[in-house]
């Protein structure tokens, strides 16, 4: 029923297996039906943009895939196998890394600790009991990645509580880039970024895709979307209403799908 299969992978060459398949998920919070029927796919090396109006359910969708919330109905498949993402740890182990819209950093820890949180470089002193942190190595590894994102940062031992909005966002993005091995989910990763930093992040997204990583990115900025996305999935009121190949779509079509002013046109397409 949805045009989900109509992607640019649907060509003559043997279609690779999708990295991620989200099938008809639904989610209700108390009186609010946040997701009614959401389906989407991400192939390896593909950049998919998830767009939609405020409150359309984009962040909720991402939280389902990253294991922060669990769907009421519907299935999620990773590399063809159904998975039960009961916690973010499960998603991480599957190689899924996420930048959340609210950034989710530990304010009381410093920049380096946040970058490596849950994945600290360590030396095992007593197996299974004491793992000593390799602080200097962590700092050493952090520097080039942050540099790549082109941002002014205070000393790396600064608590993230005192960072500026863009600096915080950069830390969160760097974290996902450092660890995302298969699928990277980015919820408005450039919302707080300056011109140069935005460009750096978009470049990074493209480079990740080149390496074969699947990228699902949420953005309200259509020019960013068209710069990086292979495919554009549109959510409206908790439903996927369009699944478009970026190259074959015009901006106004996407906007129309978002606002719902031309639903018929698109689904008829």
């Amino acid at each position: 029923m949805s045009p989900a299969t109509q992607t640019h992978h649907d060509t003559a060459e043997p279609a690779p297996r999708p990295l991620l398949q989200v099938e008809h998920i639904r989610k209700r919070f108390g009186a609010v039906q946040a997701l009614q029927d959401v389906s989407l796919e991400v192939y390896p090396g593909e950049v998919v943009a998830l767009v939609g109006d405020n409150g359309a359910g984009k962040s909720t969708t991402i939280k389902m895939i990253s294991g922060v919330e669990t769907p009421d109905e519907g299935r999620i498949l990773v590399e063809g196998r159904e998975v039960h993402l009961t916690s973010p740890a499960v998603a991480e182990q599957l190689g899924i890394q996420t930048v959340y819209q609210d950034l989710a950093l530990c304010d009381n820890l410093d920049i380096v600790s946040n970058l490596f949180l849950g994945r600290e470089l360590h030396r095992t002193l007593i197996p299974g009991v004491i793992k000593s942190i390799r602080k200097a190595e962590m700092e050493e590894r952090a520097i080039p990645i942050l540099k790549e994102l082109g941002i002014n940062l205070p000393p790396l031992s600064t608590q993230v509580a005192s960072l500026s909005g863009g600096q915080r966002q950069t830390v969160a993005v760097a974290r996902a880039v450092l660890w995302g091995s298969k699928l990277v989910l980015l919820d408005e990763p450039t919302a707080a970024l300056g011109v140069t930093q935005t460009k750096a992040v978009l470049d990074l997204i493209l480079r990740l895709a080149e390496k074969g990583v699947g990228v699902l990115v949420i953005s309200h900025n259509m020019s960013d979307v068209f710069q990086v996305a292979d495919r554009i999935v549109v959510l409206r009121l908790g439903k996927t209403v369009a699944n478009l190949t970026a190259k074959e779509t015009r901006l106004d079509e996407v906007v129309a799908a978002i606002t719902g002013s031309a639903e018929e046109v698109l689904t008829g397409k």
Partner: protein, 400 residues
């Protein structure tokens, strides 16, 4: 464009004085304010009663704070998580009861200790499970637990009353002292070990081109440690030497300070305390962290109880009662550990225990009437933490 990691540059700019100015401005003073408060308290008591700073009284003081210190460490772990443990004193009572009863049945003393610790651990696991898996607030779980363990204590000792310890090994925990020469040897080992660690780390950082502590700053730290430990050991040796129970406390503090500051597990405790949801999203198993921390707290409660029983030479239905609970939480909080999670250190608990212990000890020396004691204790406590708060005043703006 250019990423300017301002670190190196800035730290050299102002030199040592500049670093201190920045630190004071940022409120990053660590233990200094509490230590300042402690010194003030000591000076006051010493000026009122010349016995206060005698080697003998310092030795007493150390033994007096050993139990609160142990409990304070356990409570610090819990507070770092942003939880609270109201049962830690009751756990110490139950552990003491287990210890004396088993010892009374002529069980090998080491087995008695082990059993008491295991009881503490089991209680901790149970509480951690209830808080974490069922999701009942720690305040309630540990309050209910505290009632339950008081009941168990009564079931154990209600019919016998006070049970003395006869076993010399158990009594010795709180009654023996390190010989003078060994005390000095320990000072040497401590300073040398600290120096080795510090130099190793800083050289590693220099090699990697990271900002590192200046040689001057390192020297200062070493000298400070050296002077303090020489003075303390000297004073204690003028009496009977370093009390073994005090040494055990110190070992625990150093060990747990290492664990919280330098291990993956410790880092994760701070993360969970700072932002539980962020820690969870980072893939940290916050459940196991919490269960482990509650277990640790139970174990520390038990160890405290063992030391307490050894010192008193007995356990009774009153063990773990009285002000012990509030004193242990206060030890952690006075030192600067936040009740809201994510901020503090094990060293704080030691400093806090010293503050509380000094005030009580000083007031006992003055043998003031109970009413005066309470009022003065309250007053000193308030003033000590006020000093701490004012000196790190800017912290408020930066934090939370």
């Amino acid at each position: 464009m250019s990423m300017q990691l301002r670190e190196g540059k800035q730290q050299q700019q102002g030199g040592l004085a500049g670093v201190w100015r920045d630190r004071i401005a940022a409120g990053e003073l660590g233990l200094l304010p509490v230590m300042l408060a402690l010194v003030v308290i000591w000076i006051i008591f010493q000026s009122v009663n010349s016995h206060f700073l005698s080697g003998r009284n310092m030795s007493n003081l150390i033994l007096q704070i050993a139990e609160i210190g142990m409990l304070g460490i356990g409570e610090t772990f819990i507070l770092l998580l942003g939880e609270i443990d109201l049962s830690i004193a009751a756990v110490s009572g139950v552990a003491a009861a287990v210890l004396v009863l088993m010892s009374g049945a002529h069980v090998n003393p080491w087995l008695c200790i082990l059993a008491a610790v295991v009881v503490g651990a089991v209680i901790g696991v149970f509480q951690g499970f209830w808080v974490t898996i069922i999701g009942v607030p720690a305040f309630i779980v540990t309050l209910a637990g505290s009632l339950g363990y008081q009941g168990i204590l009564l079931a154990f000792l209600g019919n016998t009353g006070t049970v003395p310890i006869f076993n010399q090994t158990l009594l010795n925990i709180a009654a023996s002292y390190v010989p003078g020469w060994l005390g000095w040897a320990l000072v040497v080992v401590a300073v040398a070990g600290y120096a080795a660690g510090l130099i190793g780390i800083q050289q590693g950082r220099r090699k990697r081109n990271l900002s590192a502590m200046s040689a001057r700053s390192m020297t200062w730290r070493l000298v400070l440690l050296g002077v303090v430990s020489v003075v303390v050991v000297g004073a204690l040796n003028s009496y009977r030497g370093v009390p073994v129970a005090g040494l055990i406390l110190l070992v625990f503090v150093v060990l747990f300070a290492y664990i919280t500051q330098a291990t993956v597990f410790g880092r994760h405790i701070y993360a969970v305390g700072g932002n539980k949801e962020a820690a969870r999203r980072a893939g940290i198993n916050i459940r196991s962290i919490r269960v482990i921390v509650f277990t640790l707290s139970g174990v520390m409660g038990a160890i405290g109880g063992i030391i307490g029983a050894s010192r008193l030479g007995s356990a009774s239905p009153a063990s773990g009662g009285g002000d012990l609970l509030l004193d242990s939480i206060a030890a952690a909080v006075i030192g600067g550990t936040s009740l809201f999670g994510g901020r503090g250190s094990v060293w704080n608990a030691l400093a806090g225990a010293l503050v509380i212990g000094s005030v009580e000890n000083g007031m006992d020396l003055l043998s003031a009437p109970s009413s005066t004691k309470y009022i003065v204790e309250g007053g000193i406590l308030l003033i000590a933490v006020t000093i701490d708060t004012m000196t790190r005043n800017r912290r408020k703006v930066v934090g939370r």
